[in-house]
């Protein structure tokens, strides 16, 4: 690795933190525009119903109401992430499919008036039979939730590689187990909020949390039936995404519609309940895994069937149905493997991608390996080392893995956690467990797969970077600044950003496929290199040197080896202006993926140019009287390629342990009464607090990916997932029973201990 970086690889504080600690930064709900109205949405009181009639006349007559919209105000354009999944109306005209679905909306001068107007909208619904369980939904002979999806099967992904029958025949031990998990949820700090207005030229300006502004503008232009260039998604601070916020939200469309109809700016801020029920949540999963291993614990065959409760619409269904399997086929060698994933429609809120999507899947794979290892007398760490992915291999579905530090992650985590001394030797009710996982650095996203960046030099020698990259809170803006400042020998304060604005900034794949550093970082770096080359051409003439011999550091362009022969960067920029050669830079990067790969129709080929790998070890103590789990220590090791900023990478690890392990395995789940979510608020959906969290050891493993910027790839997410697996394994180790239903709440733990004591299991 190239040495002598000034900023890359350093623990530099984020450039955007000051405005956050002072409270000056604005999130969408903080915006206030002249004559702005308050928007509110009328929602379905039934889980499945035909809309017979909507009467808005009383609401329209209420003083202070400026616009009311229903499905009749829409162009009837349906939304779907894929061309073949366009099944959702932002404001349905004839049918609602889940409790809380949008039916109508109002814009009024204040919140009280808007809420009063909602009550004055008369909605006549005819209740239809509803189904809330995916297995029942599949067995249904109709009518189905969407007529064109027989048996309510929304997506079926089938992958069959090698010869599993032969693999099972050669196995010396075979197990089949089923693992289940309830829905989990993002609970971002910031509730969803959107502000829309039309300018004097009929352009829509809109602000909302997003994981890719271009992913919002195109569907909005389709639904509003206006040209793409007239839809301007503006940059705004974003209070977390965690896999959500990638899709267009009905609120975005409704807010724009209300603004168009009223001729005034409109703001919609979701209640906490709406933010749970009417955005996305994680899928509930039922996963059956059959695995055959040889005497050494090497996996010879695997057959996996997974049913996912998808809720009422497709959303990111094809991706969601695939990713849990793909993560596991990346992390573990599997020569003979069959996967059948089914996403099923039910009359429940819509499910999407989430940071630890597929927890019953990944935890199932790892818990089963532990059980088989125990039968064979092989310790969990050894089981993993024997099956761990290595660099230079292909995954079963044909992705080449160019960099992989998984073995190093496992070994370092085992050493740091004291695995050897602890495993099998801990006092009663203490347990230790390991999980491993792998996450993609991007997906094939067609024309939106690449990122482009433009650099403009200002006459004082500072630069402005224009990039489509969006920051949801993870530090993407800072990453861009660090990269550009490094390449151009500037301080971070001299790099200005224009990002995440669809009017000004070029194409970018968004942050939700974990590709931002890889694609956006590479593009920014290449733009900086392009600008630097132009500066060197100018400086070479002035210094009578070869441009190739020049270097740029601390705002000086000098001849390598002769530090006295230099001109200030600012001077070169100004010379460029005088000579009619103004300095700018352009860079773009499109990850090398197989564009013929398709989630359902053709799940083979290069999925992602790079993959991250993680191993987490958790040590817990279970109170056998209460079933409560105390996490004592978590060791998180991830191969993130190269840590551009170790402090920020650690922050990703620590947040991942909280959401994936501590919350994901112990407390976080939704519970239901039919189609009604009973815990849509933070009072009842329990996320980890500071007092709950264990000590966390961070281990950054750097495999230096050949294509990543400075070797970097995805950072943090393979910790979120492997932390869940580690917690599950540690609790099972502590109580001597393998729990198969997640999260592992005190009631489930007590029941398992009781059954074990009665010899029931």
């Amino acid at each position: 690795m190239e040495k002598g970086f000034s900023l890359i690889g350093k623990r530099v504080p984020r450039v955007d933190s000051l405005s956050r600690v002072t409270g000056e930064v604005q999130f969408a709900a903080d915006l206030k525009l002249p004559r702005m109205l308050v928007g509110k949405i009328k929602r379905s009181s039934l889980a499945h119903a035909r809309i017979l009639h909507i009467d808005t006349s009383r609401a329209e007559r209420l003083k202070g109401v400026k616009a009311v919209v229903t499905g009749q105000d829409t162009g009837g354009v349906k939304w779907g992430v894929f061309r073949y999944t366009q099944d959702m109306d932002f404001l349905p005209r004839d049918r609602v499919r889940y409790f809380g679905e949008e039916i109508a909306a109002v814009a009024a001068v204040d919140e009280e008036t808007a809420l009063e107007a909602l009550d004055l909208i008369d909605v006549d619904l005819e209740e239809l039979p509803a189904v809330y369980d995916p297995i029942e939904a599949m067995a249904s002979e109709g009518p189905w939730i969407h007529e064109d999806y027989p048996n309510n099967v929304n997506v079926h992904v089938n992958i069959d590689v090698g010869d599993i029958e032969k693999g099972f025949k050669e196995s010396s031990l075979i197990r089949e187990d089923t693992f289940t998990a309830a829905e989990d949820d993002y609970f971002m700090g910031e509730p969803y909020a959107v502000v829309a207005r039309f300018d004097d030229d009929g352009n829509l300006e809109i602000w909302m949390p997003n994981a890719g502004p271009h992913m919002k503008s195109k569907p909005l232009s389709n639904a509003l039936q206006m040209p793409l260039h007239k839809v301007k998604v503006r940059k705004i601070a974003i209070g977390g995404a965690f896999g959500g916020r990638s899709e267009i939200s009905p609120a975005d469309y409704i807010c724009a519609l209300l603004s168009r109809k009223s001729g005034r700016p409109v703001k919609i801020v979701y209640t906490r309940e709406e933010n749970a029920v009417n955005v996305r949540m994680g899928h509930a999963l039922i996963t059956t895994i059959k695995t055959g291993v040889d005497r050494e614990g090497k996996v010879l065959a695997r057959d996996i069937t997974c049913y996912m409760d998808g809720g009422a619409y497709s959303s990111t269904g094809p991706i969601a149905t695939s990713v849990p399997f793909l993560c596991m086929e990346q992390a573990y060698r599997m020569e003979n493997v069959r996967y059948n994933g089914y996403r099923i429609f039910t009359n429940k809120p819509i499910r999407g991608m989430i940071r630890m999507h597929g927890r019953s899947f990944a935890c199932g794979i790892d818990l089963q390996l532990d059980m088989m290892g125990e039968e064979l007398g092989i310790d969990p760490v050894t089981m993993r080392l024997r099956n761990a992915r290595q660099a230079g291999e292909y995954t079963p579905t044909g992705s080449y893995v160019s960099s992989c530090g998984l073995t190093e992650c496992i070994e370092k985590a085992a050493l740091k956690s004291g695995w050897k001394e602890k495993y099998g030797n801990l006092p009663p009710w203490r347990g230790i467990g390991i999980g491993i996982n792998s996450v993609q650095t991007g997906f094939p996203l067609g024309i939106r797969g690449g990122s482009q960046a433009i650099i403009k030099f200002n006459e004082d020698g500072g630069v402005t970077l224009i990039s489509g990259v969006v920051d949801n809170g993870q530090g993407n803006d800072n990453m861009l600044v660090q990269v550009v400042a490094e390449e151009l020998g500037l301080s971070m304060a001299e790099v200005m950003l224009i990002t995440a604005d669809t009017e000004v900034t070029p194409n970018d794949p968004g942050s939700y496929s974990m590709v931002t550093t890889f694609a956006g970082g590479n593009a920014a770096r290449l733009a900086a290199v392009d600008a630097r080359n132009k500066l060197f051409d100018i400086a070479a003439k002035a210094l009578e040197a070869n441009p190739r011999d020049l270097m740029l550091k601390d705002k000086k362009i000098s001849v390598a080896g002769s530090p006295d022969r230099f001109i200030p960067l600012k001077k070169a920029v100004r010379m460029g202006l005088i000579q009619g050669m103004p300095v700018s830079g352009e860079g773009h990067y499109a990850p090398k993926v197989d564009h013929t790969r398709e989630w359902v129709k053709n799940p083979k080929g290069q999925l992602s140019e790079a993959f991250s790998f993680g191993a987490t070890i958790a040590e817990v103590e279970v109170n056998p009287e209460t079933g409560m789990v105390k996490a004592l220590e978590v060791t998180a090791a991830q191969d993130c390629g190269f840590a551009l900023n170790p402090m920020l990478v650690e922050g990703q690890f620590e947040g991942s342990v909280a959401m994936g392990g501590q919350g994901g395995m112990l407390t976080e789940h939704h519970f239901w009464d039919g189609g009604r979510c009973l815990n849509p608020t933070q009072l009842e959906y329990k996320v980890p607090l500071a007092c709950d969290m264990p000590r966390i050891n961070n281990i950054i493993v750097e495999s230096l990916d050949p294509a990543g910027p400075y070797g970097a790839k995805e950072a943090g997410m393979s910790i979120a997932m492997s932390a869940a697996q580690a917690y599950a394994a540690a609790i099972s180790n502590a109580i001597g029973v393998t729990l198969t239903d997640f999260p592992m709440t005190p009631e489930k733990i007590l029941k398992a201990i009781e059954e074990k004591n009665q010899g029931g299991r």
Binding site: K10, R11, V12, P13, R14, D16, S17, L18, S19, R20, V21, T22, G23, E24, V25, Q26, F27, A29, D30, K32, Y186, F187, M188, G189, E190, P191, A237, I238, G239, G240, F242, T271, R272, N472, G473, Q474, G475, M647, L648, E650, G651, F653, E654, G655, S656, V657, A658, M659, Q662, T681, Q682, L683, V687, P688, L689, A690, C691, M693, I696
Partner: protein, 157 residues
């Protein structure tokens, strides 16, 4: 009603059902204080009332008659952040930043009660504030650095 906000006397006519949070954000345009859960669970709306942390979303503004309120905008001075703000920046304790204002106010309240909290006391002191991004580790580090005077020069350490 009249009360003091960040050291300035404020006089307002408000309806009795307005919460302190609404009055701060909408009337006074102090949007640093956030609403996240709206039911007193998450701590994003925390302000100091006579130096004591208070959930502004559960507090009727009229109850604040004659009181002294401090919001995140009242921390530090223009161009000179409070040491705890600076420590949050230096230690990477800020990710998305939505919980940060409330978190800072709880820390201020904690340090007023107990200027030298140990790690457990810090964790308990901020357990009324939910952060979904950081896992709290860097926040605890940031507070510890201020209370022990071990604030590091973040660059290159």
């Amino acid at each position: 009603m009249s009360f003091a906000v960040n050291g300035e006397e404020v006089e307002l006519y408000i309806s009795p059902n307005r919460t302190l949070l609404e009055v701060l954000r909408e009337e006074l345009e102090l949007t640093g204080t956030k609403e996240s859960c709206g039911e007193g669970v998450c701590g994003s709306c925390t302000v100091l009332c006579d130096g004591v942390p208070l959930r502004s979303c559960l507090t009727l503004a009229l109850e604040m008659e004659g009181r002294e309120i401090t919001t995140v905008e009242g921390l530090g001075e223009q161009g000179r952040p409070d040491p705890i703000q600076q420590s949050f920046i230096d230690h990477g304790a800020v990710q998305c930043g939505f919980c940060t204002p409330g978190m800072l106010m709880s820390v201020k309240g904690l340090l007023k009660r107990n200027p030298t909290p140990n790690e457990e006391e810090i964790r308990r002191g901020i357990s009324g504030n939910i952060c979904r991004c950081t896992g709290y580790a860097k926040i605890v580090e940031a507070v510890t650095a201020v209370t022990t005077g071990s604030g590091r020069n973040a660059t290159g350490s």
